[in-house]
């Protein structure tokens, strides 16, 4: 996972509240076997509408999403974060996030900053009057800056530390790798190993046929 200290990119005003994970990515896309390439699935139900914000040239390459309250509610699908990241978003700002979505985001390197509703409104106004304005998000200072306006955001210290260090869950566990290796040395020899494979003689299996 990439380390993030500051990020600067085009801000996208999403004037909607209660954007649930079904709207972020509809269930039909869950059948895929990949975990990248979900950019086409992001907000799929809205992308057909020419007036949708991401269909406007100025916002198309956005990477900082400024959304209404209760972003990411609904099912716990990790695909919601994958879709946002695949599209190019690095930061989502909202006045309130669903817990599971925030948790999933922190693990995948997507910054979720909590900004007061008034400040969200302020950012929306700037981004709407001057489409294409870049927003700079500073994790160190916990601020977001657009034009001459700087607003504070909240993020818990643990998640912030992980994002700045670029540690995903696995990376975090692997900081204890010496402990894991030491533990492995103490495992008894009766504990099973799948390799080399042992099994009963291989016998051809007859295919059942429709009756």
């Amino acid at each position: 996972m990439e380390k993030i200290h500051t990020h600067t990119g085009v801000g996208v005003p999403l004037r909607r509240s209660n954007v649930d994970t079904d709207q972020i990515i509809p269930a039909v896309y869950l059948k895929r076997v990949t975990r990248t390439g979900f950019e086409d699935a992001l907000f799929a139900a809205w992308r057909g509408d020419p007036s949708f914000v991401l269909n406007q040239d100025a916002y198309r390459n956005g990477s900082v999403l400024v959304a209404g309250p209760d972003f990411g509610t609904g099912s716990s699908r990790e695909h919601a974060v994958w879709a946002l990241k695949d599209y190019g978003f690095r930061v989502v700002l909202s006045s309130r996030f669903a817990d599971i979505f925030r948790g999933n985001s922190g693990k995948q390197g997507l910054v979720t900053g909590i900004v007061s509703p008034e400040d969200i409104e302020l950012l929306w106004k700037i981004l709407e009057t001057k489409p294409g304005t870049e927003v700079t998000v500073d994790l160190e200072a916990k601020t977001a800056t657009a034009d001459d306006v700087t607003v504070p955001f909240q993020i818990d210290d643990y998640t912030r530390w992980r994002l700045m260090e670029g540690l995903d869950d696995i990376g975090l566990t692997l900081t204890n790798e010496a402990d894991i290796t030491a533990f492995e040395a103490t495992r008894e020899s009766w504990r099973p190993k799948t390799l080399p494979a042992k099994h009963l003689p291989s016998v051809p299996i007859e295919a059942a046929r429709p009756v």
Binding site: R35, K107, D169, T173, S189, T194, L195, A207
Partner: protein, 488 residues
């Protein structure tokens, strides 16, 4: 300090104790993999350039999507085929052992572990599948995990885990004729509810549990998740050791002796404290059947469909009304009069050789009711081979049942084995959720014995409804000595 079985296994796997409220890091002994929850986990590894840390503690099988007919032909459903092909490519790339469709060791992941002797007492076992609790029957701490945790275990062979609470479920007494371990677990879930086990690891104990075979124990632990629990466990004993001995991956020689000595210590201490306790008398049990759309909505077969207007609690009343509407059941109708269209015998709950034997014993020499179709799906290819060696396949075919290849099949209908809208089944599987066995399908969860009797009569029935004296000793078939080679 006195400890419960679950706590002992937990302690033995602590790589690092969490500090200041952070989770403990636990070592995982055995990681089972299947095609549905693994593709993104492998891709995550690939993207991060990480290898599988311990391919030698990992094993994969194809089960959820596989067809149970024409397994030698290409899989028709595109999504299914993609998932299977992806697993094959990933197993090859990362060096993971895979038992593919058509291989004698292919089967439902929760059958494959035990039959190879990989599942043992005192292990931590995980799989991207909620019914991993099955392996707790051996005294292992076994639980289901999500896709990102699958990736985590592949990469590190550990999992950060928050502590759990423990619940003792004591089942005293002796099971009456015609009742089975499936009826025990359905009764437990009906008693504590589908959320009753939330946050707990359940430990089943008591006289009635001790006398059960390994397969019957697996049925109970399998459905722990339906009570909301993360895992279910049973302390190992001679029955466990007997089952394991001689299996392909069971320890040998000195290793065996050392293992058994340790396994014997794996029981909750007499003064161990549980966070909750439930007691049940097996003698009170009779064959159970679900009437609703969650596994907690079950009743003894002798009961009638509940009448919602008689339910005081408003929430429960509304839930029951909705369930009955979906199930197309008339309030007050005796359950024994409910006619079914399909009988499904299979799944990781009740698709084992012992289940097939008990069904064969009931249906031998009889004909199924004309109105029902009967599907018999062994839980693994080895179980199928064993059943054929014992002639069970012939009994099933003579009865009018379809004898299929191994897999999850109609348990969840990811393959072509599905219920049609409105079609009603008596199923030996574990979930009766809306649409689980096919869109609009209606599921009654039952034991293999009830499934067999129902297939004969066409309505929900128990063996006591049949005109034959029935001998409940289901460990032998036809009185002849059991030809049970290791591996089943």
């Amino acid at each position: 300090m006195a400890g419960t079985l679950a706590e002992k296994v937990w302690e033995a796997h602590l790589v690092r104790r969490g500090e200041n409220g952070s989770p403990d890091l636990l070592y995982i002994d055995l990681h089972l993999v299947h095609e549905v929850t693994s593709p993104q986990a492998f891709e995550g590894l690939r993207l991060a350039g990480r290898p599988v840390r311990r391919p030698d503690l990992t094993i994969a099988t194809e089960d959820h999507n596989t067809p149970t007919l024409d397994i030698d032909l290409p899989i028709a459903d595109l999504t299914s085929r993609t998932q299977i092909d992806t697993l094959r490519a990933n197993a090859k790339e990362f060096g993971v052992r895979l038992h593919s469709l058509g291989d004698a060791d292919q089967g439902i992941v929760h059958q494959v572990g035990p039959q190879l002797g990989l599942t043992m007492p005192g292990l931590t076992v995980v799989c991207g599948d909620s019914h991993t609790s099955t392996h707790g029957a051996f005294g292992a701490l076994a639980f289901g995990i999500g896709t990102s945790e699958v990736e985590h275990v592949l990469a590190t062979q550990t999992l950060p885990l928050a502590p759990f609470r423990t619940m003792a479920i004591t089942v005293d007494g002796e099971l009456p004729a015609g009742a089975t371990s499936k009826d025990i677990i359905l009764a437990i879930i009906a008693k504590i509810g589908t959320g009753g086990g939330q946050g707990y690891v359940l430990e089943y104990r008591g006289e009635a549990i001790r006398t059960l075979s390994m397969e019957a124990r697996m049925t109970i632990c399998n459905m722990s998740i339906e009570a909301g629990a993360r895992a279910g466990m049973i302390a190992p004993d001679e029955t466990t050791f007997e089952y394991l001995k001689g299996r392909p991956h069971a320890p040998e020689g000195e290793d065996w002796d050392a293992a058994v000595e340790y396994w014997k210590t794996l029981r909750s201490d007499d003064d161990a404290e549980f966070d909750a306790e439930v007691v049940l008398d097996a003698a009170d049990l009779e064959p159970f059947v679900t009437w609703g759309t969650n596994p907690g909505q079950g009743l003894p077969l002798s009961a009638s469909v509940p009448v919602p207007s008689e339910i005081a609690d408003e929430n429960e009343r509304v839930t029951a009304e909705r369930a009955l509407e979906y199930m197309g059941l008339e309030p007050g109708k005796p359950l024994r009069e409910v006619a079914v269209d399909t009988v499904f015998i299979g799944s990781c709950t009740n698709g084992r050789i012992e289940d097939l034997r008990s069904v064969a014993k009931v249906v031998k020499g009889r004909k199924k009711a004309d109105s029902v179709r009967v599907l018999v799906v062994p839980s693994s290819a080895r179980v199928r081979l064993q059943a054929e060696a014992e002639g069970l396949d012939v009994i099933f075919k003579d009865f009018g049942a379809e004898w299929r290849n191994a897999g999850c099949s109609m348990c969840l209908g990811m393959n072509p084995d599905q219920l049609a809208p409105g079609e009603r089944s008596a199923s030996t599987s574990n979930r009766n959720f809306e649409g689980r066995q096919g869109k609009g399908g209606r599921t009654h969860l039952v034991s293999p014995l009830v499934a067999a009797a129902t297939a004969i009569r066409g309505t929900l029935s128990s063996v006591s409804d049949l005109d034959l004296p029935y001998d409940v000793d289901i460990t032998t078939f036809d009185g002849s000595p059991l030809p049970v080679p290791a591996g089943i």
